[in-house]
Symmetry: C2
């Protein structure tokens, strides 16, 4: 079934007011969840909301905590998320990085003790809509074996890169595993094989069988040894810049995944005189010209889905929607 963006947003907002968020924060937190479904990333929208409420109930996410600045030097700041809502902390950190970038050309906020930021791409879109170029990344609980090991010692540490472009922002949102566990489950549910090897089976052979990867707990890093190295460096840089926890210190139980470390960097292209947005257009155009309709830029599909969902309504799972409506009108 489909519901309007407004209805989804307001229903989520009411649920958040119920669990104790103050008005403005409930509004923003609900918007970030609703926009995630609007953009087709259902794994981190409404479907993720019950777990978010559960973590609030368990005291892992503190609805009233606001991030606090704990260190600052020019364009580089360190903030403590104080176990607040992960999406609000991330949004506020990117806002601060954007402010710093207007002052210093670029700005960086390193955030520690935060919670899961839900859809990482949200903060890329946020920056691009403000006209800025941005990078952000997070560490996660250990869920990815490094190259050379069968044990999940690395996080899949999503990396987001955003480039503003009037004709359609370019926003890359990539985790360091070739397929997320959510994606593996979706392929399995559809009875499909993975399009490329997604991990090792229990015997240590590369496989395209999603269930075999879920069973072995050995998803592949993107690019094998290369993504393994990149995941490690993203964790290390996030923990060092924020003086926060690294993946190996975070509980492996997803319901206890907390005290994450994140980095937000924004660049104000206007401070160097002119946005040169033609450059991004020309690059997208060069792909079109060279590769035809088959090449997509990161974010292109999101914009298509967004338009469609705003027109037809946001797809929601009926049972989950009824549950949310029930909770928010109690």
């Amino acid at each position: 079934m489909r519901v309007s963006f407004e209805e989804l947003h307001q229903t989520l907002r009411r649920a958040l007011l119920k669990v104790g968020f103050e008005h403005g924060r409930a509004e923003l937190c609900a918007r970030l969840f609703a926009e995630t479904d609007r953009d087709g990333v259902h794994t981190h929208g409404l479907r993720r909301f019950p777990r978010f409420l559960e973590m609030i109930e368990k005291g892992i996410v503190d609805v009233s905590a606001r991030p606090a600045r704990v260190g600052a030097h020019g364009a580089l700041e360190r903030w403590d998320g104080r176990s607040g809502a992960g999406n609000l902390n991330a949004y506020e950190s990117m806002e601060r990085a954007l402010e710093l970038s207007r002052q210093h050309g670029l700005g960086c906020v390193a955030l520690r003790n935060t919670n899961h930021w839900m859809r990482g791409g949200s903060y890329g879109w946020q920056a691009a809509e403000a006209g800025a170029l941005a990078f952000c990344w997070t560490n996660t609980l250990p869920n990815l074996p490094p190259w050379g090991s069968a044990r999940p010692l690395l996080g899949n540490n999503p990396l987001v890169i955003a480039v503003p472009r009037p004709a359609g922002h370019v926003v890359l949102d990539m985790a360091m595993s070739q397929f997320s566990y959510g994606a593996l489950a979706a392929y399995r549910a559809r009875g499909e094989r993975l399009p490329v090897a997604g991990g090792f089976d229990a015997e240590g052979r590369l496989t395209q069988d999603p269930a075999a990867v879920e069973e072995s707990g050995r998803p592949l890093p993107v690019g094998f040894w290369k993504g393994s190295g990149l995941a490690l460096l993203l964790d290390m840089t996030a923990a060092l810049l924020s003086a926060g926890l690294a993946t190996h210190q975070i509980p492996t139980d997803p319901l206890k995944e907390t005290r994450l470390s994140q980095v937000f960097i924004a660049f104000d292209l206007n401070t160097l005189g002119g946005t040169e947005s033609r450059i991004a257009d020309d690059i997208v155009e060069s792909l079109r010209a060279g590769g035809g309709e088959t090449v997509r830029y990161p974010g292109e599909r999101t914009l298509k889905i967004r338009r469609e969902n705003l027109e037809k309504g946001i797809p929601v799972e009926a049972a989950m929607w009824e549950q949310l409506r029930g909770f928010s009108s109690m």
Copy 2:
């Protein structure tokens, strides 16, 4: 055969003096080449040197050009490489980013109109040795088909991330193709198959045959669609920040690969009070503890090779070494 680091460095230095570099610049440029062989990255050391001289002769690399600042706002600067030697321009840009980071917490130099930086890792080691955390990346000529196309519309755009660590810096230096053309040639020469799929053959099937990938010109991006997106964003951000050329504007002939765009970002960890170098040690230790001897961190093998080569001498190809000696003593 093996030669001492000093002999390699001085012989390269004399050759560079002959083609017109001034003393200090010949010294540094030679050192960067010699250190590349010292660290085992022979594709971009002595073996690459004849092509470097050829590009000087053809006027593509200007031995006397120094980079010039063309824009600045706080911690963000834009420089023009003026077709100078790529490794000197990159070194100078990282030095400037380090300076900016000491002043502003972090600093970024976006460099345009530069030449091939040879080994990207050099600038990561440079930053780590200065105690800084750093990111840098470059675009390249078009040599990588984006996901969904058979034509090389993207560059393999190497990305370098460096974390300083007294016990051994962690330096990731990864191109966005799963295997470089140099690596493909090396596997072919040894008569070996690739350990994982490295590209498509002429019929569009994934293959582990290095010759088939060389023939089709379709190497794989790391992580298939994911590395394709990352390569695109690295090109876009480099071109936008530097207001320089993007991959699609760079000639496909390696002997004419010039006017590249690069980004150098350094973070001064000391400005936020304490380097917390224990964090990086703990992360490396957690891999050791969890995965045994089979997991390596990026840069670990480099340090091993470096020690060995400094002790036994740097491996050089005899014919190439004689040619260099002849040229430098003419």
